[in-house]
Protein backbone atom coordinates (compact mmCIF):
# COMPACT_ATOMS: atom_id res chain seq x y z
CA UNK A 1 0.00 0.00 0.00
CA UNK A 2 1.37 3.37 -0.95
CA UNK A 3 1.39 6.51 1.05
CA UNK A 4 -1.94 8.24 1.38
CA UNK A 5 -0.41 11.43 -0.02
CA UNK A 6 -0.40 10.17 -3.60
CA UNK A 7 -4.07 9.27 -3.23
CA UNK A 8 -4.85 12.75 -1.97
CA UNK A 9 -3.00 14.36 -4.90
CA UNK A 10 -4.93 12.17 -7.32
CA UNK A 11 -8.22 13.03 -5.66
CA UNK A 12 -7.59 16.79 -5.55
CA UNK A 13 -8.41 17.59 -9.23
CA UNK A 14 -11.50 15.38 -8.98
CA UNK A 15 -12.68 17.19 -5.86
CA UNK A 16 -12.07 20.56 -7.54
CA UNK A 17 -13.95 19.59 -10.70
CA UNK A 18 -16.99 18.31 -8.81
CA UNK A 19 -16.91 21.33 -6.49
CA UNK A 20 -16.73 23.85 -9.33
CA UNK A 21 -19.07 22.18 -11.83
CA UNK A 22 -21.63 20.48 -9.59
CA UNK A 23 -21.57 21.58 -5.95
CA UNK A 24 -21.08 25.32 -6.55
CA UNK A 25 -23.87 25.54 -9.16
CA UNK A 26 -26.25 23.70 -6.83
CA UNK A 27 -25.39 26.06 -3.96
CA UNK A 28 -26.03 29.13 -6.13
CA UNK A 29 -29.29 27.49 -7.19
CA UNK A 30 -30.16 27.20 -3.49
CA UNK A 31 -29.35 30.88 -2.93
CA UNK A 32 -31.53 31.87 -5.89
CA UNK A 33 -34.44 29.90 -4.49
CA UNK A 34 -34.70 32.58 -1.76
CA UNK A 35 -34.63 35.51 -4.19
CA UNK A 36 -37.50 37.12 -6.04
CA UNK A 37 -38.17 38.40 -9.49
CA UNK A 38 -39.74 41.71 -10.38
CA UNK A 39 -40.42 42.20 -14.10
CA UNK A 40 -37.06 41.30 -15.61
CA UNK A 41 -34.94 41.99 -12.55
CA UNK A 42 -33.88 39.56 -9.84
CA UNK A 43 -34.13 41.03 -6.35
CA UNK A 44 -31.54 39.51 -4.07
CA UNK A 45 -33.25 39.78 -0.73
CA UNK A 46 -33.90 36.56 1.13
CA UNK A 47 -37.52 35.48 1.27
CA UNK A 48 -39.43 32.24 1.64
CA UNK A 49 -42.17 33.32 -0.78
CA UNK A 50 -41.13 30.90 -3.53
CA UNK A 51 -41.45 27.90 -1.27
CA UNK A 52 -44.78 29.21 0.02
CA UNK A 53 -45.96 29.50 -3.59
CA UNK A 54 -45.02 25.90 -4.32
CA UNK A 55 -46.76 24.65 -1.19
CA UNK A 56 -49.84 26.71 -2.02
CA UNK A 57 -50.03 25.82 -5.70
CA UNK A 58 -52.17 22.86 -6.59
CA UNK A 59 -50.47 22.53 -10.00
CA UNK A 60 -46.94 22.24 -8.61
CA UNK A 61 -48.02 19.92 -5.80
CA UNK A 62 -49.73 17.70 -8.38
CA UNK A 63 -46.73 17.74 -10.75
CA UNK A 64 -44.38 16.79 -7.92
CA UNK A 65 -46.70 13.95 -6.88
CA UNK A 66 -47.01 12.86 -10.51
CA UNK A 67 -43.20 12.74 -10.89
CA UNK A 68 -42.82 10.54 -7.82
CA UNK A 69 -45.79 8.45 -8.94
CA UNK A 70 -44.17 7.71 -12.32
CA UNK A 71 -40.86 7.02 -10.60
CA UNK A 72 -42.50 4.45 -8.36
CA UNK A 73 -44.57 2.88 -11.17
CA UNK A 74 -41.59 2.45 -13.48
CA UNK A 75 -39.46 1.09 -10.61
CA UNK A 76 -42.07 -1.57 -9.89
CA UNK A 77 -42.62 -2.44 -13.57
CA UNK A 78 -38.89 -2.72 -14.32
CA UNK A 79 -38.41 -4.80 -11.16
CA UNK A 80 -41.08 -7.30 -12.25
CA UNK A 81 -39.72 -7.54 -15.80
CA UNK A 82 -36.07 -7.48 -14.75
CA UNK A 83 -36.11 -9.91 -11.81
CA UNK A 84 -36.19 -13.11 -13.91
CA UNK A 85 -33.67 -11.61 -16.35
CA UNK A 86 -31.16 -10.81 -13.60
CA UNK A 87 -31.68 -14.25 -12.05
CA UNK A 88 -31.15 -15.95 -15.39
CA UNK A 89 -27.94 -14.06 -16.17
CA UNK A 90 -26.52 -14.60 -12.69
CA UNK A 91 -27.52 -18.23 -12.17
CA UNK A 92 -28.09 -19.85 -15.54
CA UNK A 93 -25.67 -18.18 -17.93
CA UNK A 94 -22.22 -19.71 -17.61
CA UNK A 95 -20.27 -18.48 -20.62
CA UNK A 96 -20.17 -14.85 -21.78
CA UNK A 97 -21.94 -13.53 -18.70
CA UNK A 98 -20.44 -10.03 -19.08
CA UNK A 99 -21.35 -10.08 -22.75
CA UNK A 100 -24.99 -10.78 -21.87
CA UNK A 101 -25.06 -7.78 -19.52
CA UNK A 102 -23.31 -5.58 -22.06
CA UNK A 103 -25.77 -6.68 -24.73
CA UNK A 104 -28.59 -5.43 -22.51
CA UNK A 105 -26.93 -2.02 -22.02
CA UNK A 106 -25.86 -1.47 -25.63
CA UNK A 107 -29.23 -0.15 -26.94
CA UNK A 108 -28.94 2.71 -24.43
CA UNK A 109 -25.90 4.10 -26.21
CA UNK A 110 -27.97 5.07 -29.23
CA UNK A 111 -28.70 8.40 -27.53
CA UNK A 112 -31.89 9.88 -26.07
CA UNK A 113 -33.14 11.63 -29.20
CA UNK A 114 -32.55 8.76 -31.61
CA UNK A 115 -34.19 6.34 -29.18
CA UNK A 116 -37.26 8.52 -28.83
CA UNK A 117 -37.37 9.04 -32.61
CA UNK A 118 -37.43 5.25 -33.04
CA UNK A 119 -40.28 4.88 -30.58
CA UNK A 120 -42.27 7.59 -32.33
CA UNK A 121 -41.82 5.68 -35.59
CA UNK A 122 -42.95 2.51 -33.84
CA UNK A 123 -45.98 3.82 -31.98
CA UNK A 124 -47.36 6.52 -34.30
CA UNK A 125 -50.91 6.34 -35.68
CA UNK A 126 -49.46 5.64 -39.13
CA UNK A 127 -46.37 4.12 -37.64
CA UNK A 128 -44.67 0.77 -37.82
CA UNK A 129 -46.68 -1.11 -35.22
CA UNK A 130 -50.10 0.08 -36.41
CA UNK A 131 -49.40 -0.47 -40.10
CA UNK A 132 -47.88 -3.86 -39.32
CA UNK A 133 -50.97 -4.95 -37.41
CA UNK A 134 -53.27 -3.64 -40.17
CA UNK A 135 -51.17 -5.32 -42.84
CA UNK A 136 -51.40 -8.67 -41.09
CA UNK A 137 -55.10 -8.08 -40.57
CA UNK A 138 -55.01 -8.12 -36.78
CA UNK A 139 -56.71 -4.71 -36.60
CA UNK A 140 -58.75 -2.66 -39.07
CA UNK A 141 -58.33 0.85 -37.70
CA UNK A 142 -55.02 2.22 -36.35
CA UNK A 143 -54.85 2.41 -32.57
CA UNK A 144 -54.54 6.18 -32.07
CA UNK A 145 -53.85 5.99 -28.36
CA UNK A 146 -50.44 4.32 -28.80
CA UNK A 147 -48.44 7.51 -29.26
CA UNK A 148 -48.82 10.80 -27.37
CA UNK A 149 -50.35 9.20 -24.34
CA UNK A 150 -49.41 8.41 -20.81
CA UNK A 151 -49.15 4.75 -21.91
CA UNK A 152 -46.51 5.65 -24.50
CA UNK A 153 -44.51 7.57 -21.88
CA UNK A 154 -44.59 4.58 -19.56
CA UNK A 155 -43.53 2.13 -22.30
CA UNK A 156 -40.56 4.26 -23.32
CA UNK A 157 -39.54 5.01 -19.71
CA UNK A 158 -39.62 1.27 -18.95
CA UNK A 159 -37.45 0.68 -22.00
CA UNK A 160 -34.99 3.41 -21.02
CA UNK A 161 -34.36 2.27 -17.47
CA UNK A 162 -34.94 -1.50 -17.42
CA UNK A 163 -31.21 -2.26 -17.90
CA UNK A 164 -30.30 -0.28 -14.78
CA UNK A 165 -32.75 -2.31 -12.70
CA UNK A 166 -31.32 -5.56 -14.12
CA UNK A 167 -27.82 -4.36 -13.23
CA UNK A 168 -28.75 -3.70 -9.59
CA UNK A 169 -30.59 -7.02 -9.24
CA UNK A 170 -27.80 -8.93 -10.98
CA UNK A 171 -25.31 -7.74 -8.33
CA UNK A 172 -27.63 -9.02 -5.60
CA UNK A 173 -28.07 -12.40 -7.33
CA UNK A 174 -24.31 -12.77 -7.77
CA UNK A 175 -23.90 -12.27 -4.02
CA UNK A 176 -26.67 -14.79 -3.25
CA UNK A 177 -25.30 -18.14 -2.06
CA UNK A 178 -27.12 -20.99 -3.87
CA UNK A 179 -26.54 -23.30 -0.92
CA UNK A 180 -29.09 -21.29 1.07
CA UNK A 181 -31.77 -22.23 -1.47
CA UNK A 182 -30.65 -25.87 -1.41
CA UNK A 183 -30.79 -25.82 2.37
CA UNK A 184 -34.32 -24.41 2.21
CA UNK A 185 -35.52 -27.16 -0.11
CA UNK A 186 -33.67 -29.83 1.92
CA UNK A 187 -35.54 -28.61 4.96
CA UNK A 188 -38.81 -29.14 3.11
CA UNK A 189 -39.60 -25.69 1.75
CA UNK A 190 -41.56 -25.66 -1.51
CA UNK A 191 -40.36 -23.59 -4.46
CA UNK A 192 -42.75 -20.78 -3.63
CA UNK A 193 -41.87 -20.54 0.00
CA UNK A 194 -38.10 -20.81 -0.72
CA UNK A 195 -38.54 -17.85 -3.06
CA UNK A 196 -40.64 -15.84 -0.65
CA UNK A 197 -38.63 -16.57 2.50
CA UNK A 198 -35.06 -16.90 1.20
CA UNK A 199 -34.47 -15.54 -2.29
CA UNK A 200 -36.65 -12.43 -2.16
CA UNK A 201 -35.42 -11.12 1.21
CA UNK A 202 -31.80 -11.65 0.17
CA UNK A 203 -32.26 -9.73 -3.08
CA UNK A 204 -34.00 -6.75 -1.44
CA UNK A 205 -30.77 -4.68 -1.52
CA UNK A 206 -30.63 -5.19 -5.28
CA UNK A 207 -34.26 -4.18 -5.61
CA UNK A 208 -33.66 -1.06 -3.54
CA UNK A 209 -30.45 -0.10 -5.36
CA UNK A 210 -31.93 -0.72 -8.81
CA UNK A 211 -35.20 0.91 -7.79
CA UNK A 212 -33.50 4.08 -6.56
CA UNK A 213 -31.48 4.39 -9.78
CA UNK A 214 -34.59 3.95 -11.91
CA UNK A 215 -36.63 6.25 -9.67
CA UNK A 216 -34.23 9.17 -9.81
CA UNK A 217 -33.76 8.85 -13.57
CA UNK A 218 -37.51 8.70 -14.25
CA UNK A 219 -38.13 11.73 -12.04
CA UNK A 220 -35.41 13.65 -13.91
CA UNK A 221 -36.39 12.52 -17.43
CA UNK A 222 -37.27 15.63 -19.40
CA UNK A 223 -37.37 14.43 -23.01
CA UNK A 224 -39.43 11.25 -22.91
CA UNK A 225 -42.71 12.59 -21.46
CA UNK A 226 -42.41 15.72 -23.58
CA UNK A 227 -41.86 13.93 -26.87
CA UNK A 228 -44.06 10.85 -26.63
CA UNK A 229 -46.50 11.86 -23.89
CA UNK A 230 -48.52 14.43 -25.85
CA UNK A 231 -50.83 16.41 -23.58
CA UNK A 232 -49.76 14.32 -20.58
CA UNK A 233 -46.14 15.32 -21.17
CA UNK A 234 -45.93 18.23 -18.74
CA UNK A 235 -43.68 17.25 -15.86
CA UNK A 236 -42.12 19.00 -12.93
CA UNK A 237 -38.73 19.15 -14.70
CA UNK A 238 -40.32 20.62 -17.82
CA UNK A 239 -41.92 23.22 -15.53
CA UNK A 240 -38.47 24.05 -14.12
CA UNK A 241 -37.10 24.29 -17.66
CA UNK A 242 -39.90 26.68 -18.66
CA UNK A 243 -39.31 28.91 -15.64
CA UNK A 244 -35.69 29.28 -16.77
CA UNK A 245 -36.73 29.90 -20.36
CA UNK A 246 -39.85 31.61 -21.58
CA UNK A 247 -41.49 32.21 -18.19
CA UNK A 248 -38.35 33.83 -16.73
CA UNK A 249 -38.75 33.22 -13.03
CA UNK A 250 -35.36 31.83 -12.02
CA UNK A 251 -36.01 32.06 -8.27
CA UNK A 252 -39.25 30.06 -8.44
CA UNK A 253 -37.59 27.53 -10.76
CA UNK A 254 -34.70 27.23 -8.30
CA UNK A 255 -37.08 26.67 -5.41
CA UNK A 256 -38.92 23.89 -7.24
CA UNK A 257 -35.59 22.31 -8.20
CA UNK A 258 -34.40 22.34 -4.60
CA UNK A 259 -37.70 20.97 -3.32
CA UNK A 260 -37.18 18.03 -5.67
CA UNK A 261 -33.53 17.62 -4.65
CA UNK A 262 -34.42 17.66 -0.96
CA UNK A 263 -37.08 14.97 -1.36
CA UNK A 264 -34.74 12.85 -3.50
CA UNK A 265 -31.96 13.21 -0.93
CA UNK A 266 -34.27 12.04 1.87
CA UNK A 267 -35.35 9.01 -0.14
CA UNK A 268 -31.71 8.25 -0.92
CA UNK A 269 -30.70 8.29 2.72
CA UNK A 270 -33.53 5.89 3.52
CA UNK A 271 -32.50 3.58 0.68
CA UNK A 272 -28.83 3.74 1.67
CA UNK A 273 -29.80 2.74 5.19
CA UNK A 274 -31.65 -0.34 3.94
CA UNK A 275 -28.81 -1.39 1.63
CA UNK A 276 -26.03 -0.77 4.16
CA UNK A 277 -27.77 -2.94 6.76
CA UNK A 278 -27.62 -5.90 4.42
CA UNK A 279 -24.66 -8.16 3.78
CA UNK A 280 -24.29 -6.99 0.18
CA UNK A 281 -24.09 -3.38 1.30
CA UNK A 282 -21.49 -4.27 3.91
CA UNK A 283 -19.44 -6.06 1.29
CA UNK A 284 -19.72 -3.16 -1.17
CA UNK A 285 -18.85 -0.39 1.28
CA UNK A 286 -15.88 -2.27 2.69
CA UNK A 287 -14.61 -2.64 -0.88
CA UNK A 288 -14.40 -6.43 -0.78
CA UNK A 289 -17.02 -7.10 -3.44
Amino acid sequence: METSRTGAWLALPVYSAVAALCVAPLLILLAYSFFQVSFVEIIKEPTLKNYARIAGSETYRWLILKAFGSGLTISVVTAIIGYPVAWYIAKRVTVMKSAMLTLLLVPLYTGDLVRIFAWRMLLGAEGVLNTFLMWTGAIREPIEALLFSSLATHIVLTYNYLPFMVLGLWLAFEALDDRLLEAASDLGAGKMSAFRRVMLPLTVPGLVAGGMMVFVMVVGDYLTPQLVGGASGITIVSAINDLFGTAFDWPLGSAIAWTMLAILALLFCAAALIVSRSTLGAALTSGEA
Partner: protein, 257 residues
Protein backbone atom coordinates in the same frame (compact mmCIF):
# COMPACT_ATOMS: atom_id res chain seq x y z
CA UNK B 1 -33.53 -30.91 -11.76
CA UNK B 2 -35.58 -30.06 -14.81
CA UNK B 3 -35.76 -26.34 -15.39
CA UNK B 4 -38.70 -24.98 -17.28
CA UNK B 5 -38.23 -23.15 -20.57
CA UNK B 6 -40.22 -20.18 -19.33
CA UNK B 7 -37.23 -18.10 -18.14
CA UNK B 8 -35.47 -18.56 -21.47
CA UNK B 9 -38.55 -17.42 -23.41
CA UNK B 10 -38.78 -14.41 -21.09
CA UNK B 11 -35.14 -13.58 -21.77
CA UNK B 12 -35.74 -13.66 -25.52
CA UNK B 13 -38.76 -11.39 -25.16
CA UNK B 14 -36.90 -8.84 -23.02
CA UNK B 15 -33.88 -8.76 -25.32
CA UNK B 16 -36.26 -8.51 -28.29
CA UNK B 17 -37.95 -5.52 -26.63
CA UNK B 18 -34.56 -3.84 -26.07
CA UNK B 19 -33.52 -4.27 -29.70
CA UNK B 20 -36.91 -3.50 -31.27
CA UNK B 21 -36.24 0.24 -31.83
CA UNK B 22 -32.77 -0.48 -33.24
CA UNK B 23 -34.25 -3.03 -35.64
CA UNK B 24 -36.95 -0.61 -36.78
CA UNK B 25 -34.37 2.11 -37.48
CA UNK B 26 -32.24 -0.34 -39.44
CA UNK B 27 -35.09 -1.71 -41.55
CA UNK B 28 -36.73 1.56 -42.58
CA UNK B 29 -33.49 3.37 -43.45
CA UNK B 30 -33.31 1.08 -46.50
CA UNK B 31 -37.03 1.07 -47.32
CA UNK B 32 -37.86 2.57 -50.71
CA UNK B 33 -40.83 4.69 -49.63
CA UNK B 34 -41.48 8.19 -48.31
CA UNK B 35 -43.65 6.63 -45.63
CA UNK B 36 -42.27 4.94 -42.57
CA UNK B 37 -44.85 2.17 -42.59
CA UNK B 38 -45.59 -1.42 -43.52
CA UNK B 39 -45.68 -3.10 -45.99
CA UNK B 40 -42.03 -2.68 -47.02
CA UNK B 41 -41.50 -1.34 -50.55
CA UNK B 42 -38.06 -2.56 -51.56
CA UNK B 43 -34.41 -1.73 -51.01
CA UNK B 44 -32.77 1.67 -51.55
CA UNK B 45 -29.67 3.60 -50.50
CA UNK B 46 -30.95 7.00 -51.59
CA UNK B 47 -31.83 8.25 -48.07
CA UNK B 48 -28.18 7.97 -47.11
CA UNK B 49 -27.18 10.03 -50.14
CA UNK B 50 -29.70 12.67 -49.15
CA UNK B 51 -28.25 12.94 -45.62
CA UNK B 52 -24.62 13.02 -46.74
CA UNK B 53 -25.41 15.82 -49.18
CA UNK B 54 -26.71 18.07 -46.39
CA UNK B 55 -23.96 20.60 -45.66
CA UNK B 56 -25.61 21.84 -42.47
CA UNK B 57 -25.27 18.39 -40.90
CA UNK B 58 -21.61 17.92 -41.82
CA UNK B 59 -20.84 21.29 -40.20
CA UNK B 60 -22.63 20.17 -37.03
CA UNK B 61 -20.67 16.94 -37.08
CA UNK B 62 -17.43 18.92 -37.08
CA UNK B 63 -18.53 20.83 -33.98
CA UNK B 64 -19.51 17.56 -32.32
CA UNK B 65 -15.91 16.37 -32.69
CA UNK B 66 -14.67 19.70 -31.30
CA UNK B 67 -16.77 19.11 -28.19
CA UNK B 68 -16.74 15.36 -27.74
CA UNK B 69 -13.03 14.65 -28.16
CA UNK B 70 -12.00 17.09 -25.39
CA UNK B 71 -14.84 15.76 -23.21
CA UNK B 72 -13.66 12.18 -23.76
CA UNK B 73 -10.05 13.04 -22.89
CA UNK B 74 -10.90 15.21 -19.89
CA UNK B 75 -13.46 12.86 -18.33
CA UNK B 76 -11.18 9.85 -18.88
CA UNK B 77 -8.26 11.64 -17.21
CA UNK B 78 -10.36 12.73 -14.22
CA UNK B 79 -12.06 9.31 -14.09
CA UNK B 80 -8.66 7.57 -14.02
CA UNK B 81 -7.53 9.79 -11.15
CA UNK B 82 -10.72 9.13 -9.21
CA UNK B 83 -10.62 5.38 -9.89
CA UNK B 84 -6.96 5.12 -8.85
CA UNK B 85 -7.61 7.09 -5.67
CA UNK B 86 -10.64 4.93 -4.86
CA UNK B 87 -9.12 1.52 -5.53
CA UNK B 88 -5.39 1.89 -4.91
CA UNK B 89 -4.83 4.17 -1.97
CA UNK B 90 -5.76 4.15 1.67
CA UNK B 91 -6.92 7.66 2.27
CA UNK B 92 -9.22 9.67 4.45
CA UNK B 93 -12.74 10.45 3.21
CA UNK B 94 -12.74 7.67 0.62
CA UNK B 95 -16.51 7.37 0.97
CA UNK B 96 -16.92 11.11 0.42
CA UNK B 97 -14.93 10.93 -2.81
CA UNK B 98 -17.15 8.10 -4.07
CA UNK B 99 -20.33 10.03 -3.25
CA UNK B 100 -19.04 13.21 -4.90
CA UNK B 101 -17.99 11.41 -8.07
CA UNK B 102 -21.40 9.74 -8.37
CA UNK B 103 -23.32 12.90 -7.43
CA UNK B 104 -23.60 14.39 -10.96
CA UNK B 105 -25.21 11.13 -12.11
CA UNK B 106 -27.91 11.41 -9.45
CA UNK B 107 -28.89 15.04 -10.07
CA UNK B 108 -31.56 15.37 -12.80
CA UNK B 109 -29.84 16.90 -15.83
CA UNK B 110 -32.31 19.76 -16.22
CA UNK B 111 -31.65 20.80 -12.62
CA UNK B 112 -27.86 20.55 -12.96
CA UNK B 113 -28.09 22.40 -16.28
CA UNK B 114 -30.05 25.37 -14.95
CA UNK B 115 -27.79 25.49 -11.89
CA UNK B 116 -24.73 25.75 -14.14
CA UNK B 117 -26.57 28.38 -16.16
CA UNK B 118 -27.05 30.55 -13.06
CA UNK B 119 -23.38 30.17 -12.12
CA UNK B 120 -22.33 31.21 -15.63
CA UNK B 121 -24.56 34.27 -15.54
CA UNK B 122 -23.30 35.23 -12.04
CA UNK B 123 -19.71 34.98 -13.25
CA UNK B 124 -20.55 36.80 -16.47
CA UNK B 125 -19.32 33.94 -18.67
CA UNK B 126 -20.74 33.71 -22.20
CA UNK B 127 -22.03 30.32 -23.29
CA UNK B 128 -19.69 28.66 -25.77
CA UNK B 129 -18.22 25.32 -26.80
CA UNK B 130 -16.07 25.53 -23.67
CA UNK B 131 -19.08 25.68 -21.35
CA UNK B 132 -20.54 22.62 -23.09
CA UNK B 133 -17.25 20.76 -22.65
CA UNK B 134 -17.03 21.43 -18.91
CA UNK B 135 -20.72 20.82 -18.30
CA UNK B 136 -20.67 17.48 -20.10
CA UNK B 137 -17.41 16.34 -18.51
CA UNK B 138 -18.89 16.41 -15.03
CA UNK B 139 -21.98 14.33 -15.92
CA UNK B 140 -19.84 11.78 -17.79
CA UNK B 141 -17.25 11.51 -14.99
CA UNK B 142 -19.30 8.92 -13.02
CA UNK B 143 -19.35 6.59 -16.02
CA UNK B 144 -15.62 6.81 -16.83
CA UNK B 145 -14.73 6.39 -13.13
CA UNK B 146 -16.79 3.21 -12.80
CA UNK B 147 -15.48 1.71 -16.05
CA UNK B 148 -11.83 2.33 -15.10
CA UNK B 149 -12.40 1.22 -11.49
CA UNK B 150 -13.93 -2.05 -12.73
CA UNK B 151 -10.69 -2.74 -14.63
CA UNK B 152 -8.43 -1.65 -11.76
CA UNK B 153 -10.23 -3.93 -9.30
CA UNK B 154 -9.36 -6.92 -11.45
CA UNK B 155 -5.63 -6.14 -11.62
CA UNK B 156 -3.68 -8.28 -9.20
CA UNK B 157 -2.18 -5.94 -6.66
CA UNK B 158 0.73 -8.27 -6.06
CA UNK B 159 2.11 -7.34 -9.48
CA UNK B 160 2.61 -3.76 -8.32
CA UNK B 161 3.97 -4.94 -4.98
CA UNK B 162 6.43 -7.19 -6.79
CA UNK B 163 7.60 -4.23 -8.87
CA UNK B 164 8.25 -2.10 -5.78
CA UNK B 165 9.93 -5.04 -4.03
CA UNK B 166 12.24 -5.35 -7.00
CA UNK B 167 13.30 -1.76 -6.52
CA UNK B 168 10.93 0.19 -8.77
CA UNK B 169 9.89 3.59 -7.48
CA UNK B 170 6.17 4.16 -6.94
CA UNK B 171 6.01 6.20 -10.15
CA UNK B 172 7.86 3.72 -12.29
CA UNK B 173 5.80 0.83 -10.86
CA UNK B 174 2.73 2.77 -11.98
CA UNK B 175 4.15 3.60 -15.39
CA UNK B 176 5.49 0.14 -16.17
CA UNK B 177 3.00 -2.14 -14.42
CA UNK B 178 -0.33 -0.48 -13.59
CA UNK B 179 -0.65 1.78 -16.63
CA UNK B 180 -0.13 -0.95 -19.26
CA UNK B 181 -2.63 -3.15 -17.41
CA UNK B 182 -5.29 -0.42 -17.22
CA UNK B 183 -4.76 0.78 -20.79
CA UNK B 184 -7.79 -1.11 -22.12
CA UNK B 185 -9.94 0.40 -19.38
CA UNK B 186 -8.85 3.90 -20.41
CA UNK B 187 -9.66 3.13 -24.02
CA UNK B 188 -13.12 1.78 -23.16
CA UNK B 189 -13.84 4.76 -20.87
CA UNK B 190 -12.88 7.33 -23.49
CA UNK B 191 -15.02 5.63 -26.17
CA UNK B 192 -18.03 5.51 -23.85
CA UNK B 193 -17.43 9.15 -22.90
CA UNK B 194 -17.28 10.17 -26.55
CA UNK B 195 -20.57 8.41 -27.33
CA UNK B 196 -22.33 9.84 -24.26
CA UNK B 197 -21.02 13.32 -25.08
CA UNK B 198 -21.98 13.29 -28.77
CA UNK B 199 -25.55 12.18 -28.02
CA UNK B 200 -26.12 14.32 -24.93
CA UNK B 201 -29.00 16.71 -25.54
CA UNK B 202 -30.56 18.28 -22.42
CA UNK B 203 -27.40 19.69 -20.86
CA UNK B 204 -25.93 20.64 -24.24
CA UNK B 205 -28.98 22.62 -25.28
CA UNK B 206 -28.95 24.56 -21.99
CA UNK B 207 -25.24 25.32 -22.19
CA UNK B 208 -24.76 25.93 -25.90
CA UNK B 209 -24.71 29.45 -27.19
CA UNK B 210 -24.58 30.27 -30.87
CA UNK B 211 -22.39 27.35 -31.95
CA UNK B 212 -24.50 24.24 -32.09
CA UNK B 213 -23.16 20.69 -32.33
CA UNK B 214 -24.94 18.01 -34.34
CA UNK B 215 -27.06 16.77 -31.41
CA UNK B 216 -28.68 20.21 -31.14
CA UNK B 217 -28.95 20.79 -34.90
CA UNK B 218 -30.89 17.60 -35.52
CA UNK B 219 -32.86 17.83 -32.28
CA UNK B 220 -35.85 19.65 -33.68
CA UNK B 221 -35.93 17.33 -36.70
CA UNK B 222 -35.83 14.26 -34.51
CA UNK B 223 -38.38 15.74 -32.15
CA UNK B 224 -41.04 16.82 -34.59
CA UNK B 225 -40.43 15.32 -38.02
CA UNK B 226 -40.43 11.83 -39.37
CA UNK B 227 -38.90 10.82 -42.68
CA UNK B 228 -36.81 8.01 -44.10
CA UNK B 229 -33.88 10.41 -44.54
CA UNK B 230 -33.96 11.20 -40.82
CA UNK B 231 -34.09 7.50 -40.18
CA UNK B 232 -30.99 7.00 -42.32
CA UNK B 233 -29.25 9.67 -40.24
CA UNK B 234 -30.40 7.92 -37.06
CA UNK B 235 -29.01 4.63 -38.34
CA UNK B 236 -25.64 6.22 -39.07
CA UNK B 237 -25.51 7.68 -35.56
CA UNK B 238 -26.55 4.36 -34.03
CA UNK B 239 -24.00 2.40 -36.09
CA UNK B 240 -21.16 4.77 -35.15
CA UNK B 241 -22.11 4.76 -31.46
CA UNK B 242 -22.55 1.02 -31.21
CA UNK B 243 -19.30 0.33 -33.07
CA UNK B 244 -17.38 2.51 -30.57
CA UNK B 245 -19.12 0.92 -27.58
CA UNK B 246 -18.53 -2.63 -28.80
CA UNK B 247 -14.84 -1.96 -29.50
CA UNK B 248 -14.50 -0.37 -26.05
CA UNK B 249 -16.31 -3.21 -24.30
CA UNK B 250 -14.24 -5.85 -26.10
CA UNK B 251 -11.10 -4.07 -24.93
CA UNK B 252 -12.42 -3.83 -21.38
CA UNK B 253 -13.52 -7.46 -21.19
CA UNK B 254 -10.26 -8.66 -22.72
CA UNK B 255 -8.31 -7.01 -19.92
CA UNK B 256 -10.05 -9.37 -17.52
CA UNK B 257 -7.79 -12.36 -18.08
Amino acid sequence: MRTSRLPLIWMWMVYGFMYLPVAVIAIFAFNDSELVAFPLQGFTMRWFGQVLGDGRLTGGLGLTFLVSIPVALLSTLLGAMAALALTRYRMPFRGLLLVLVLLPFLIPKVILGVAQLILLSELGIERSLLTIIFGQTIVILPFTTLVIASVLMRIDRRLEEAATDLGASAFSAFRRVTLPLMKNGLLAASFIAFVLSSSEYVLTSLLSGRSQPLSILVASDFRFNMSPALDALALMIVAANLALIVIGELARLRSKS
